[in-house]
């Protein structure tokens, strides 16, 4: 009996998860119910307004400045996360030290913590009365209620993405390459930039992209640390909220749609870059 079953399975080819059709069905259902249909509703909602109305809303000066603040701060935050996330991942993979497991677990806290809690505690720390903020205030830098504060909140929510993207690749990276590079006379800097970094770069880029996207959409933590002053520290998601508060649903979805499109294009660009890099590094 058993043999027969094995035979039947073999005819179709053995797969770990049974049935491509079944798993594809589940995939489509999940994608449909949780991503595509909600996103489509944004398009439908926004399509209620004419193209002219749409452009008027999304190109109004306040909205444009909101986009500028969101994108620039998210970009900066993602860059910072790229550098420090790499270092963090490096330390967690390459060294053994007491408390490493705990530290490793802590990386994910920003995922678990409600963003409003993060925002409130960050503001408390970084305002000119807070522990860290007071020190910076003495040298004339205010952090909370400025774009620096917004960036810090985005760094906080984005860091796990970079660390978790880089970590597995770093773990698999064969140390023999480094040793070989060293033996062939490459210095530390050269080994890092010519041997290690090219291997890590696609993963780093993926982490960067995720952190960037997360920063653009971040609302909960940023509203507390941003001063929300129009044209200065007002982020795009806040403008969406302010439209909702005025019961202007279509305006809100218009801003969201523009945000979504730009983010999508950026992610597409980052992903293509990543694929290109991967091919390049294999060649």
């Amino acid at each position: 009996m058993e043999q027969q079953i094995v035979k039947v399975k073999n005819k179709k080819g053995v797969r770990v998860i049974p049935g491509f059709g079944l798993s594809m069905g589940v995939t489509l259902a999940m994608l449909g119910c949780f991503i595509l249909i909600p996103l489509a509703s944004i398009f439908i909602s926004a399509s209620k307004m004419s193209f002219q109305e749409f452009t008027e809303v999304v190109t109004s000066r306040q909205v444009m400045s909101g986009y500028l603040v969101s994108f620039s701060c998210a970009f900066l935050a993602a860059l910072i996360n790229g550098v420090f996330g790499l270092i963090l991942a490096w330390v967690l993979v390459r060294y053994e030290f007491p408390g490493k497991r705990i530290m490793d677990g802590m990386i994910e806290l920003p995922f678990a913590l409600p963003t409003a809690v993060a925002g409130i505690s960050l503001t408390f720390l970084y305002s000119d009365q807070g522990w860290i903020g007071a020190a910076f205030d003495k040298i004339g830098i205010s952090i909370a209620y400025t774009r620096i504060g917004i960036t810090i909140a985005m760094v906080f929510v984005g860091i796990p993405f970079v660390v978790r993207s880089v970590q597995p690749v770093l773990e698999k990276l064969d140390r023999q390459y480094e040793e070989a590079a060293m033996m062939l006379g490459a210095g530390r800097t050269r080994t890092f930039f010519k041997v290690i970094l090219p291997e890590l770069f696609p993963a780093l880029l993926a982490g960067f992209g995720l952190a960037f996207a997360r920063g653009i959409g971040e609302y909960g933590s940023v509203v507390f640390i941003a001063g929300n002053i129009p044209f200065k520290t007002q982020i795009a998601p806040l403008l969406i909220m302010s439209k909702l508060e005025q019961y202007k649903y279509s305006d809100a979805t218009a801003i969201a749609l523009a945000l979504l499109l730009v983010s999508f294009l950026l992610m597409l660009f980052i992903n293509s870059l990543q694929i290109y890099m991967q091919k390049f590094s294999k060649a």
Binding site: G19, G21, L22, S60, Y145, V223, M241, D251
Partner: protein, 338 residues
Amino acid sequence: MSKKAAALLFCILVVSCLAGCGSDSGKKKGDGTELLNVSYDPTREFYAEYNEIFNEYWKEKGGSDVTITQSHGGSGSQARSVIEGNEADVVTLALAHDITAIENSGMIEEGWMEELEGNSAPYTSTIVFLVRKGNEKNIKDWDDLVRDGVEVITPNPKTSGGACWNFLAAWAYEQQNGKNQQETEEFLKKLYKNVLVLDSGARGATNTFVENGQGDVLIAWENEAYLSLETHPDEFEIVTPSVSILAQPSVAVVDKNARDHGTEELAKAYLEHLYSDDAQRLAGKHHYRPSNEEILKEFSDKFDLEMNLVTIDEFGGWDEAYETYFQDGAVFDQIYAQ
């Protein structure tokens, strides 16, 4: 076989999802003893106590035990949740504007504002200043807020309905002092120049001022200012300006839901009982000004009854005021236009 199974599973998933959604938003016919009160943030403690008073009263009248559930959040987002299907029997919100939005969706019948006394506002409040103990910057009235070096904290009226009252109170001060439109606009421009942080909601602004130590003065609802005094005794003082606005948090029965739940009578009684002497005193205890003049006088040592309180009617009612001052591109946006 596997394709069929996949198709079947997909269908089951979709159908069950739809069915799930359906049963959630479907009409749950209650037995008329459950009441959902959708309210806004600072009324939590007041309604918790009021629900007990009401339950007693209702049982005395021969009704059965009622279970009252409260929901709290920002006034605007609470109103939106009701429009989008939150099964509230009654709404007790910060602004008539938010209830009008529910009315526009067809869930509340027209004329709700005339249904109960005082524009359906059983308790009122006003806008006052919260300053740090000692009042070092010597803030007494609205014109002190535009002085150089005074840092003001107030939420953004475009994201916080309650903050509209703050803006209008300052406006009323200038108007009462005989200033014309242009002078008033200049005054508000100066005032908002002094605003350090424009939080998205009243709770956020209080947090910025109280916990994070930002600014010299918080423009706040009187009841919220008292709450801050309660939680931080000896750290703050309340300053009452000479002119302010009568803030009327409104209440209404959500007719459509109450009809579906069979709670029309209960919901009506729930709101009407807010005008009873006990409930009025309770409102006073929770720092709201009772709408009953006699009971308000009992609290004369707590509330400054000498303030000149302008009503929203001076601005032509809520909808007109909102249109004039807070619509996109209107007066408030002009203040920040570069």
